[in-house]
């Protein structure tokens, strides 16, 4: 047991290090500009006075390491600075929207993960059948669709008939049931987008194992194919499956950006797009850091979980 804790703390340290590097990249990217941020934002025709004022406002008069240190210590305490476009503290802007985005991502994951695992196991069980071929072709097709195409098809089909709303209006007083109902179409869109990949990888991971001698042994014992797959193949295929699930959940976190815009969902993605068009760099940096942190955390979780399912990984020479 202690070994598991040691591994988890090791991975956590690595994760913190990765996050630190990411924060340097996110903050340092502004240094790539030939001039400085103030000149880039105001254009060539800006007067020296307005330039100086904006530099003062952005804190550009201090050196980059000092600004980075101030930013990082602020972020640690939950203070992301001020938004230039709205003149509001970023933590206030982000607060409720982060909750909404996480809600949508978890909702989609709760639909997508069981659905794709079931499809993957069935496709592996009935491989080379009509079901397998059809689901494979459908999965390839679904992977290639842009999110907004799926979203608009669903709107046209399920929202025109009045079944589900095409716009999501969530306030503090919205009840859980209403939330689930209103966020159904965005969640379904995300589900369709990520299911294909998870299903294909689940199928591949299981089929890879079916050639092993111990599976043949199980078959020769007279086990039913369903039992062979569920009892013998799936437990050993868990590690790659967990990894691909985590990868897709991480994808969900960024995939919400487009879907939120289509459904006017009040989440982080929409805030980020607005900030990008206003060139509100402080907001974009804050949201990029949040998304990147979620991404790193999910990968970390996958790493730990897949090691636990395969104890051999812990005793590597």
């Amino acid at each position: 047991m202690t070994e598991i804790w040691r591994m988890i703390s090791q991975r956590l340290l690595l994760g913190v290090l990765t996050l630190f590097i990411i924060s340097v990249v996110i903050f340092g990217a502004t240094e790539l500009l030939p001039g400085d941020l103030a000149r880039e934002l105001l254009g060539q025709s800006a007067t020296p006075e307005t330039l100086a004022a904006l530099r003062e406002q952005l804190g550009l008069n201090e050196s980059a390491p000092v600004r980075y240190w101030n930013w990082l210590t602020g972020v640690m305490q939950g203070d992301f600075g001020m938004s230039m476009a709205t003149k509001m503290p970023i933590s206030e802007l982000v607060g409720t929207r982060l909750g909404n985005t996480l809600f949508l991502a978890f909702y989609a994951a709760a639909l997508a993960v069981p659905f794709s695992l079931l499809l993957g196991v069935l496709a592996a069980l009935w491989r080379n059948s009509i079901f397998d071929r059809a689901s494979n072709a459908l999965a390839l097709t679904a992977i290639s669709f842009p999110e907004f195409f799926v979203a608009y098809i669903l709107i046209l089909w399920l929202s025109q008939s009045g079944l589900f709303p095409s716009m999501v209006r969530i306030t503090d007083t919205t009840s859980m049931g209403e939330r689930l109902y209103m966020a159904f179409l965005p969640a379904l869109t995300l589900t369709l987008v990520v299911t294909a990949h998870m299903m294909r990888m689940t199928r591949a991971a299981i089929i890879n194992l079916l050639a092993s001698p111990y599976i043949e042994m199980a078959r020769l014992k007279g086990m039913s194919p369903m039992r062979v797959v569920l009892r013998h193949a799936v437990p050993n295929a868990l590690s790659p499956i967990i990894n691909v699930v985590a990868l897709n959940l991480a994808y969900l976190i960024t995939g919400v950006v487009v879907v939120e815009v289509v459904f006017v969902y009040p989440g982080l993605g929409q805030l980020m797009i607005d900030a990008v068009s206003n060139r509100d760099i402080a907001v974009v940096q804050a949201i990029a850091l949040i998304f990147a942190a979620a991404y790193v955390l999910l990968n970390l979780l996958a790493d730990v979980l897949s090691t636990i399912t395969n104890p051999r990984l812990m005793h590597r020479k």
Binding site: T18, I21, I22, V25, I26, A29, T30, L32, L33, L37, E40, N128, A137, L140, T141, I143, S144, F145, P146, E147, F148, F149, Y152, I153, I155, L156, W157, Q160, S166, A250, Y251, I253, T254, V257, V258, V261, V262, M272, I273, A275, V276, S277, R279, D280, I281, V284, Q285, I287, A288, F291, A292, Y295, V296
Partner: protein, 304 residues
């Protein structure tokens, strides 16, 4: 009912196009290539036909389009019917014309971006594998750091800093995607640089550039070509998504992503017109994926 009917029609078109294209390829191909096309799955031949069609439309855009790219031809949001066969958009421009020019702009820009990402990514990747040592370490750790940030989020960050224009869009997406190409190229090349013939070439005194071009690249071609197809899909979808979000290719340039955005209001009235450009994007990515899937299957030598 209409859903079932449209799925059936789509399946019918798929089979007809797939069969016709396979038959065409078989009769046109030189004798020693004929077996390749005989065992070709329908999905792959359908994909090839679609890709050829898109390229033809993109090249012939000014010839086949009924109007000019930005020409206002009638009232706003006209329904389908002659002379505007697919209606008009919110400024009264012909939808069909803009769809045709979109093939040129959207696909062209995505292709240039992918090619750029490939040149940079594969050169650096192979170079790192060839030289090894601290250069490899530094480049790889740098790429790892960049890859830890989700691609779309990183592109959005860079677009905020450098502003949104077609040039920055191409450069930003190419930079972000070249990190992914670098990973693949490096791992492929690492297997090759251990070979004896590389050792022999080194002893002959060949320089790094010649080693990359003449010895390593020809042997790394198969996985890189498959990756090019997949990468093109990702780049194409990323550019369309950014244009859809209003941060990519800007009007009046005809572009599929921004066309969806401009006409999205029509959807709420039950009009399918905004789905056409979105469908055009989807169809091309599906086609490329089908062909790449077939190529990968062939290259892996699997005969299930």
């Amino acid at each position: 009912m209409t859903v079932v009917l449209s799925i059936l029609v789509a399946l019918g078109i798929f089979f007809v196009v797939g069969l016709a294209s396979r038959a065409g390829l078989r009769s046109l191909a030189p004798a020693h290539h004929k077996p390749t096309y005989r065992d070709m799955p329908l999905t792959a031949s359908f994909g090839l036909a679609v890709i050829v069609f898109y390229i033809a439309v993109a090249i012939l855009a000014p010839v086949v389009a009924p109007y000019g790219e930005g020409e206002v031809t009638g009232a706003q949001f006209l329904p389908w019917g002659a002379p505007n066969y697919l209606g008009t958009d919110k400024l009264g421009r012909d939808m069909l014309t803009r769809l045709i020019y979109g093939a040129r702009n959207t696909v062209g820009i995505a292709f240039v971006t992918t090619a750029l990402a490939f040149m940079v990514g594969s050169f650096l990747g192979i170079w790192a594998a060839l030289v090894g040592g601290w250069l490899d370490q530094w480049l790889s750790r740098f790429v790892d750091a960049l890859m830890a940030i989700p691609a779309l989020i990183f592109s959005l960050l860079l677009l905020t800093i450098f502003g949104t224009s077609v040039l920055t869009l191409v450069l930003v997406i190419a930079a972000v995607d070249s990190t992914r190409v670098y990973r693949l190229a490096r791992s492929v090349a690492q297997g090759i640089v251990m070979m004896d013939y590389i050792e022999a070439a080194r002893l002959r005194g060949e320089g790094a550039w010649r080693l990359i071009r003449r010895e390593i690249l020809p042997n790394a071609m198969a996985p890189l070509v498959a990756e090019f197809g997949l990468r093109f899909c990702f780049v194409f979808l990323a550019i369309s998504a950014l244009s859809f979000l209003g941060l990519g290719i800007k009007p009046p340039t005809a572009d599929w992503g921004s066309m969806v955005r401009e006409n999205a209001t029509l959807i709420t009235f039950g009009d399918v017109t905004p789905l056409l450009p979105a469908g055009a994007i989807a169809l091309l990515t599906v086609a490329v994926n089908f062909v790449v899937d077939w190529q990968l299957h062939r290259a892996s030598g699997l005969k299930e």
